[in-house]
């Protein structure tokens, strides 16, 4: 039996969060798969709607999206797709327009060289706007464990940025 109350709430949930889930899906699986991942994620969300945490649904939704991506799409393909997209976006930014653009290109290029694991850790914070605690819930680990991952991923990103040929204002990591 469809429950109008639940259906209304769910529609609101979708309106509020589908953009965030889409963004996560693009960063994890690339644009060609993103719509499918979003649709799958919200289908799972609807089926589990009675039990999902309504107060803070985003980490839960991204956790579902993460599982959908991992179950449905092969890791190597995803990695290649996303890395290719990141480079494409980096190249699309004309380096001579402004310093900011060059910096963005350098960061994206550097990000493309990192492992999927590191990319996910970094972008959950920087692009999905989650707190470390919420991000830890997405990847299903403790907050301290996530902070350790984040620390290491930051270091690797900083090194990768420094190693790119693009001009950059990023400082070398202090340790």
């Amino acid at each position: 039996m469809a429950d109008p109350e639940a259906a209304e709430e769910f529609t609101a949930l979708y309106a509020d969060h589908h953009r965030r889930v889409y963004a996560y899906a693009v960063a994890r699986a690339g644009r060609p798969l993103a719509d499918e991942v979003v649709a799958e994620t919200f289908l799972v969300a609807w089926r589990s709607f009675a039990k999902m945490p309504r107060a803070a649904p985003l980490p839960w939704l991204l956790g579902v999206a993460r599982n959908v991506i991992r179950e449905r799409h092969r890791a190597e393909e995803r990695h290649r797709t996303v890395a290719a997209e990141l480079r494409q976006w980096a190249n699309a930014a004309e380096p001579d327009v402004a310093d900011g653009v060059a910096e963005r290109a350098a960061v994206l290029t550097a990000l493309a060289t990192l492992s999927e694991h590191d990319r996910e850790t970094l972008t959950l914070i920087a692009w999905d706007g989650l707190s470390p605690r919420a991000a830890a819930r997405v990847v299903n680990c403790s907050t301290p464990a996530f902070l350790v991952r984040l620390h290491r991923a930051r270091n690797r990103l900083a090194r990768a940025v420094a190693a790119t040929d693009q001009p950059t204002v990023i400082k070398e990591p202090s340790r």
Binding site: M1, A2, V26, F42, K51, E103
Partner: protein
Amino acid sequence: MKNHPDVMTALAEARPAQLDPSGTPPLPVPVWEGTAPARRFRPALLIPAGALAAVVAAVVVAVSVPEPGPAPDTEVARPLTASQLLLTAAEHSTTDAFGSGKYVVTRSEEGSTITVGAGTATYEMTAKTSYETWLSRSGNESNRVISTKLGMTPLTPADDAAWRAAGSPHEVLVGKPLPDGKLGPGYPVSIDAGAPEANSSDNPEVYAFGNTNVTVRDLEKLPADPEALRARLLKSWDGGGGDVPTDRQQWLLSVASSLLTDIPVSGPVRAAAFRLIATLPGVRSLGVVADQHGRRGQGFAFTTGNATYGSIEQRFVIDTATGRALGRETRVVQAAGTTARLDPGSVLAYSVVLDQRTTDEAPPK
């Protein structure tokens, strides 16, 4: 973790515009039909509270028994008093302990009264669903729920006439009853029965005491002593609110009685619940009544209410020979708010418990 703030800021600023969708694609899930959300196990939601439509909210009908049985509201020759009834049921429940199986399996049917619309007419229909629930007692396996829509039927002959006058539609509009007595916007819902639908859940918190979630393992640890049970249940007392009573005694009555029908517990714990209920004010005996499937038992009831949904009678039908509940129902006593459209005495919702057992069998796929 304050080191390299620059690289994180730079990364945030480099967030590609391609991450944002160009527009809002249509809702990818047919939420108004078919793919029903996982069952809400929260027994408190069985009260048709303001926020919750009666559409899924489910409670129980004890139907008055035709001859030769007495009508439920009629004094019988020597009816059991409420406390006699409760203590007898407790005595028989004591020996009805769970077996050793890995799963608790329950089969139940739930129905609720829904105001539906077709064209300009509105009328009442009863929506029924059957459930088979497999709960992992250790929490190590997934829980499984097989639900089957049994369809919607007009509540009374007058409702049947209204449905026919509207052209006997197989799709009706269901709107949420609002606290002001009006109906919210209607959504199309099929009145036809459906195929069984199986859902698994790894979330162990399938039940709640009031607004506080509990796991199946928590249920296994409930005490068989009424005072200890009272203390344990009150640990979950949070002031109530929403569709949950805000009076402590009413809350306790509501939560303790949910252990009789909605939440499966072992017989000795159920016995403690009966004994606890016997100590609480406001419980009255109904004499012999029958559940929606015509099974007779001893009835008891209490009344709850607030401005949102008026005054509601909660009825329980108990098989005193086994101490098990046959079913439960809610009826309108004083219509107000979300129940304003219903006559006093109308059944809001019901459930009947058809089976409850433990087993080592595997749940059906």
